[in-house]
Amino acid sequence: MHDQLHAPLPKPVPGLFWNPYLQIFLTVLLTAAAQILLKVGAEHSAGNDSVWSWLGLAELGTGMTWLGILAFVASFGGWLYALRFLPLGLAFALTNGVHIFVPLGSWLFLGEHISLLRGSGICVIIAGILLLAQSVAKAEERV
């Protein structure tokens, strides 16, 4: 079971689009879009208190939810690609960028307010992602 764990990570195909970090960025953008679409879809079906609503099946009736699912599926492709080349822990931590784009998107498209606290949270996430980027640069320097 551990055979594959110690092999060095492979090198991606050359070209900007195939850069695994760009793919993570695209995954983050698509996931943020998906979250907002699912939120809109969930609001459309609010008030349906059947047993199925606990499993999220009531939401499947709205178009926004299906668009959200489509965005999730698309983001999944980029995510699987990135996982071929990056360690899981690092890649997943970078997807925290979603929490920058969800408030921004909610502000742009849903008219939600970004408070000072929320704004500072976004700045702390950006700082964290920059530190992660530095840690990658350091690790690659050593190789």
Binding site: H2, D3, Q4, L5, H6, A7, P10, L38, K39, A42, S45, A46, S53, W54, L55, G56, L57, A58, E59, F72, W79, L80, L83, R84, P87, L88, G89, L90, F92, A93, T95, N96, H99, P103, S115, L116, L117, R118, S120, G121, I122, C123, V124, I125, I126, A127, G128, I129, L130, L131, L132, A133, Q134, S135, V136, K138, A139
Partner: protein
């Protein structure tokens, strides 16, 4: 939050961590040469099935509970993933990497507290 909602949240977070570990295992095995790559599709299917469980549970919880109450719980998932990856995939992060993970989690908590 009701007890049912808490139980669903815990199961969904466990499903998320397990699903991601299976996906990573699948994609790592796919890169192995020849015979060694066999079985990666099976691992991928397990990963996708587990992520589907996570997705449906999360959608259901989102329907019942305010998003602002769920976000802090989602904020700890990167930490859970890093711990899971260290335990089951033997991944190691350097000090800067850990600091980055913790800072992003703190940021997510701040965003969700607002």
């Amino acid at each position: 939050m009701s007890v049912t909602a808490w139980v669903l949240v815990v199961i969904s977070q466990l499903a998320l961590v397990a699903g991601q570990i299976y996906l990573k295992r699948a994609m790592s095995r796919r890169e192995q040469p020849g015979e060694a790559s066999r079985g990666w599709i099976g691992l991928l299917v397990i990963g996708i099935a587990t992520m589907t469980v996570w997705f449906l549970l999360w959608l259901g919880v989102m329907h019942q509970v305010e998003l602002s109450k769920l976000m802090p719980l989602e904020g700890i998932s990167p930490l859970l993933i890093v711990l899971g990856a260290a335990l089951f995939l033997r991944e190691r992060l350097n000090a800067r990497g850990w600091a980055g993970v913790i800072l992003t989690c703190v940021g997510v908590l701040l965003v969700s507290a607002s």
